[in-house]
């Protein structure tokens, strides 16, 4: 039976078991929206700005094992998605973005709402396509899902001219797809894995350093098993939080620019680093010259060969799917593996570092942001999905909310996109309808996608917005305080809206919390009495609270500024 290109798009989504699409209609996608209207298998979430559609689709992926999908129109619809696509790309999030395009016979003529979608998105996608023939439409969408979700995942854009969506064609969705130019390696090289086992056996000061790859490949279980077998300390990157239970005694906290004293020291002075799905980025190892001063051996497991030996020389590269490689490691270790007895001394050293209690903070008469995070953790029993924006509040959430499970910590690590928190909450709730969702944000970030309060009302997303309001762009202010002699250039936000009234104007519940003793009761109220409501909680916090420990830009990982130093 011949069906239209628009119907083919929807049928493809159904074949991919896509249950919801985040989008915004417009001229070039009207046929697709018409086809969407005629079915009820694929739900559509109408956002208020295309950027939010992509962020929500991104969080749908992050919080589940499925591929998020966004649908937008040509021209401004596409340009509005670029931030969201780049955000997903930097964090390797599988996502398919379907974009309308002007009719193919208009392309290149500066038609109304035309832009070079493939050109604009090329540097921030894993791959993109322009569909030129309706006969290629189904197979292109199949390829898009395949590419997005395999190997090192990433966003894929499929640009579909309007005339293609009107043309008729037989629908035949391929079950599998073979591409001669795309065959990501899955299985780790056994010889390399054997070498790794040998080195782990010889390690005297080992560390397991894991990142977002553990989350993306669903390897938390295998990682925990391996770590317990080895009894080595484990540190996570910002993207890797939840990949290893934060309440486990072997967990020494997040590392990097705002990592714990023990994690950064252990990373620096380790003689063997087992890096798993992490990429030694600048926020993690600080100054690379300083980092390379210590002699150590590095084993690096990653699905992407280009992540290996990119910033730090690796002795044993293992390219492969993380859970498979970890399982193989555990299997090999069953044959009489023994860790070096000196590891016990290493633990003593780590415990000494731990004794510095680098996350300790001073109480004041103001609400401390760290305190809000601790209470949020208690009130939600550590079970919430925490989405965050970007800035100090993001670091506080990462440091003080102890993530025991993967896919619970949803933030923009690589690109550092302010404004993702609220749409991320929407995406999480579409993938996990019964979840408790807290969006930790600040008065700067929240205003970057504030319009989505309207979407949340329309679909009843009961997100709890934890607005850590210090009237400052806190992280900017912190840097200006420390490195620009307190010249607070443009980091002070005046004319803030009354967030309580604003929330109420959108039909939600608003709360303003100004005293430390009110923090916990307010949170409890939000998560019980207002369980099914979106609650905007405006916490007026200490305006000068800073994030510590801190490794300043260009400094070495062990050259930390601690709260106690000031």
């Amino acid at each position: 039976m011949m069906i239209s290109g628009a119907e083919i798009v929807i049928r493809c989504l159904q074949e991919e078991k896509v249950d919801c699409v985040f989008g915004y209609p417009g001229g070039s996608v009207l046929h697709i929206y018409d086809a969407l209207f005629k079915q009820d298998q694929v739900k559509h979430i109408l956002v208020r700005h295309e950027q939010a559609a992509v962020h929500a689709a991104d969080a749908y992926s992050r919080s589940s094992q499925r591929v998020g999908v966004a649908l937008v129109t040509s021209g401004p619809g596409v340009t509005n998605t670029v931030t969201g696509i780049a955000t997903a790309y930097m964090d390797s999030i599988p996502m398919v973005v379907l974009t309308g395009q002007v009719p193919s016979f208009y392309i290149g003529q500066d038609a109304f709402q035309e832009c070079d979608t493939v050109g604009i998105t090329r540097p921030c996608v894993k791959h993109n396509f322009l569909v030129k023939d309706v006969k290629d439409l189904a197979v292109t969408i199949k390829k898009a899902f395949h590419i997005a979700s395999t190997g090192r995942p990433g966003p894929v854009v499929v640009d579909i001219p309007k005339d293609i969506t009107a043309q008729m064609c037989e629908f035949d969705y391929p079950k599998t797809i073979q591409m001669r130019s795309y065959n990501p390696v899955v299985k780790g090289h056994l010889g390399q894995i054997k070498k790794a086992v040998q080195i782990l056996q010889e390690a005297k000061r080992p560390i397991i350093y894991t990142g977002g790859g553990v989350i993306l490949s669903d390897a938390a279980e295998q990682l925990t098993k391996l770590a317990h077998k080895l009894n080595f300390p484990v540190t996570n990157t910002l993207m890797g939080l939840g990949g290893y239970p934060a309440t486990d005694k072997q967990f020494i906290g997040m590392l990097g620019m705002h990592g714990t004293f023990e994690a950064n020291n252990a990373m620096h002075y380790a003689d063997v680093i087992l890096a798993v799905g992490a990429r030694f980025d600048d926020r993690v190892i600080g100054n690379p010259e300083h980092f390379s001063e210590e002699k150590r051996r590095v084993i690096h497991i990653d699905i992407d060969p280009s992540s290996i030996s990119k910033r730090v020389k690796v002795d044993v590269p293992i390219v492969g799917n993380v859970p498979d490689v970890l399982e193989e490691l555990v299997k090999l270790m069953d044959g009489g593996f023994r860790t070096d007895p000196e590891v016990a001394n290493w633990w003593k050293q780590i415990d000494e570092w731990r004794g510095r209690d680098s996350l300790r903070y001073k109480q004041s008469e103001h609400i401390m942001p760290q305190f809000v995070m601790e209470k949020l953790y208690e009130v939600t029993g550590g079970n919430a999905f925490v989405t965050s924006d970007v800035g100090q509040h993001q670091m506080f959430a990462a440091q003080y909310y102890k993530f025991d499970k993967p896919r619970r910590w949803i933030n923009s690590g690589g690109l550092g996109t302010m404004g993702v928190g609220l749409p991320y909450g929407m995406g999480v709730l579409m993938a996990n309808p019964d979840a408790q969702v807290a969006c930790v944000t600040g008065e700067g970030s929240i205003q970057m996608c504030i319009q989505e309060l309207s979407t949340c009302k329309q679909y009843g997303f009961p997100i709890k917005i934890i607005n850590l309001n210090n009237g400052m762009l806190g992280m900017v202010r912190q840097w200006q305080e420390m490195f620009y002699s307190k010249r607070y250039s443009q980091s002070y936000v005046t004319s803030l809206p009354d967030f309580v009234k604003l929330a109420e104007a959108y039909g939600h519940v608003g709360m303003k919390i100004e005293k430390p003793e009110d923090v916990e009761p307010a949170l409890r109220k939000a998560f019980t009495e207002h369980k099914d409501d979106l609650v905007f909680m405006d916490f007026i916090i200490d305006p000068v609270a800073n994030v510590f420990p801190m490794v300043a830009a260009g400094k070495g990982l062990t050259e930390m500024i601690l709260a106690e130093d000031l």
Partner: protein
Amino acid sequence: MLRHIISILIENESGALSRVAGLFSARGYNIESLTVAPTEDPSLSRMTILTSGSDEVLEQITKQLNKLVDVVKVVDLSEAAHVERELMLIKVRATGKDREEMKRMADIFRGRIIDVTESTYVIELTGASSKLDSFIAALDAGLILETVRTGVCGIGRGDRILKI
């Protein structure tokens, strides 16, 4: 900073060239020359890129190229025995005594004169890039009117074959 010749087999699709060129500019790798044309199989293009960089940079270049979905194979030709050639068309002033001199220079370098007017020659010259450079250096700079070079293309010697 060693000179490397990267050979790429890539799907012959629109946009494939810009993916490669975009990768080089986005990551700060340099391209000294780039040539591309379809192979005997019209669905595939062969691209040759002349670049330079440290071993670490070259390792990243080949890894990043391999990551591009359209790229089928990547080889660093300069890692082993290979031959390389570049074609140049050079238009020179050829009047009076220079006319005979130009002809002689072209002969010495085994170039061919492929277009003749009363006052100009177009000389075709093929060879390693260094040979083309020497030819240009050997001419009186004031007599060179225009040069066009294709950039390097190369192929492995003997059994070294880049094919799918």
